[in-house]
Symmetry: C2
Subunit: 221 residues, 2 copies
Amino acid sequence: MILSLETFSPDRIIDISVTLRQGLACWPGEEYWQLESTQQIAKGGSCNLSRATMSLHMGTHVDAPWHFGEGDRTVEAIPLSQLVIGARVLDLTHVEAAIGRSDLEGKLDGIQAVLLKTSDSGRLEALEPFNRDFVHLDESAAEYLVEQNISTVGIDYLSVEGYHVENAPVHHRLLGAEVLIVEGLDLSGVEARDYLLVVLPLKIEGADGAPARAILIDSDR
Amino acid sequence: MILSLETFSPDRIIDISVTLRQGLACWPGEEYWQLESTQQIAKGGSCNLSRATMSLHMGTHVDAPWHFGEGDRTVEAIPLSQLVIGARVLDLTHVEAAIGRSDLEGKLDGIQAVLLKTSDSGRLEALEPFNRDFVHLDESAAEYLVEQNISTVGIDYLSVEGYHVENAPVHHRLLGAEVLIVEGLDLSGVEARDYLLVVLPLKIEGADGAPARAILIDSDR
């Protein structure tokens, strides 16, 4: 992939973030979204101003190792090299329930990051209610990602791990190896190939994760 | 600038975002920062979880046109072409009080975005108390940016406009022309030259602005 600033076209950029708004599915028990107006021109204010309250794991977001107590790295300390990185989008929309090692084998050559497009892509942006049967990674897949020295893994629903899996082995294996986890992507309109991924979480001191905006820059358009 | 994914080095990326944390200077009256733990491993939880409350104009952030009622474009609708863009960092650390047209004339050739490095760079990250005498743009400078078809302008303190300037002419002129305003950058360690700017605000539906993470990709290292 060659990006030239002189010939750089906005057509090459794809937004893979979900929109933060009322009605967006959240992890059960983590529904804190509020957007409150603090000043309004319509009511005589000099400008429109708001404040937001949110779970750090709402919508498109990243998990820091400290989220599951794997070391003390919190979100502001995630290296930029895991946030701006060559990434392969894999089409796994045929997979039901769990993505296993065999779904990934032989598909990660020459790449540092992988984004998993599943049959749940688009559900968040369509404001569907929380789906507890979302497609996720099993332990063998997490193990394979670590073996393959993958730096960053992304998925299109709210967790890389199945709903309420005991002891969270997938999170522990990935975060224990300092693999960056990106959750809540919208990959519904994205073709399966290689891109430059830029995922920029808010730089919140001491946090277990952070909401993020994520884009892909496409070399092939 | 040529970026090759094959030869892409993380050394070329510079984080120009300030860290969101207790003690970070906020616009007077807009001090809403709270980071609250909702689950802790140390207290028997299965993971560490938090929620945050913040002003949308805290730390590194963008202003949408609707912030000052200039049309109805809110932050989720800002085009990606204003967020991923060739940008020139100008060293204006010698300017006292206000940046005028003459400080910018002849310095914007061949570029779509400009980041203004002032003597206030680094104050936010150093947790200095709010400084109401920060360096800002005057009306002639705002007019010149619009004349020059600048798409995105960034500055290193909390506003492009002076403290409590009546009727906010700089905001109205820039936002009225759909110039994207980025405020609260940390340009203290950045050399004055051209970069690829990537500034990614949270995609919050209907919002007047949003906190963002911003990076520069440097072609010259």
